[in-house]
Subunit: 234 residues, 2 copies
Amino acid sequence: MLLFEEVRPVFSMLRSFSARARSIRHGTSGRLRVMSTPPLGNTVAPVALARFLKDRPDVSVAYDVRRLEHVIEAVQSGAADVGLAIALERHPSVNVEILSRTHMVALVPKDHPVSGRQEVTVSDLFEHGFIGLEAESRMGQMLRDAFDREGIDYEPRVEVRYCATAAVLAGAGVGAAVVDPYSAAHQSLQGLVQLPFQPPREVAAVLITRKGIPRSRLLHGFIAELKRAAGDVF
Amino acid sequence: MLLFEEVRPVFSMLRSFSARARSIRHGTSGRLRVMSTPPLGNTVAPVALARFLKDRPDVSVAYDVRRLEHVIEAVQSGAADVGLAIALERHPSVNVEILSRTHMVALVPKDHPVSGRQEVTVSDLFEHGFIGLEAESRMGQMLRDAFDREGIDYEPRVEVRYCATAAVLAGAGVGAAVVDPYSAAHQSLQGLVQLPFQPPREVAAVLITRKGIPRSRLLHGFIAELKRAAGDVF
């Protein structure tokens, strides 16, 4: 009897251990590590995360918004379970899966000369000044290509590294910017008009996972919410 | 006469050159390179930049939002004319000047149990779950210190690297977050309540300049707008 009293806590520990193992198997417990570049990290992924966590009180999450090279490296090394990025169609060392396809957009301050147009062209930007994107980024290259295609000089008044920054500056009234539509969606449109940009520049939103690693139920659950949220943001 | 015709363009070039030299001296022409961490780079600095560029059509700007170590390094090496950051009171290799002092705040989803309070405490956060900040950051340390001081375990449900990310996740309904007030100001308050955080954690907004380098008129003009904007944001 005395012996049983001493052993009793072990039964309770075993019960709690097997309950925890079951909840991990069912994807309702555990830890998920998500890494995203800013466009999706500020829009689609937070919406997905809020829904994902709602019914999973025993799940904890590490959530990091970083530059593309960090995201790829973290997924490749296993430091992150899933990565999110835009304008990356394939990569030799990770799985890349397209969530949705869309186009770059122009963000124009309401009092700007072209804010009443149906669309914004590179010659509108050239004429009235604009916020450019650094050449090293994929978006910066896409914007330069658009100018080259029309034979118009690329001469931004202000140049930034990220679409997020360009969107913020447009919102503060610095001038027109051309950004991916996720960065545009994150920016408050108070004082701004969002217009189609001509020529069209396609942007894909992608999911990045590790090669050769089966997905956990937890990860499956989060990816399902990402796919749902990717459709909801626009 | 023929000779004069050939020389004439040189006079015009000289005139345009001296006009340009004059406008550089007066701070109405030239290039300014600004680098900021996200809290001020998304709030105070864009407002200052918009006002600064308004009356200076011949000024172009490189504007970059980066991590603190990049900002300090760029100012120190001369790659940036001015840096902006928060929670950095002094540094051995650059000049640090305080723009304004304020406190960390709590961002709480409107339907959250503590959204009706006068203030948010660490025990409120512990009880209802919260979004934490990574230990490596100054803000992350300040938040941990607040828990330590009250003798309460620091156990965030979701952990992020930047205040900006914590603010976005709070906005998406993931949970309560404690962030610097600039990151809070950048986040749309739709669906969120901003409350004082107890115990108070002071945050300074600072200007970073290169040691031993006199400021150009262009830089003086931008700094004047920064000081004005720092007062306007709250």
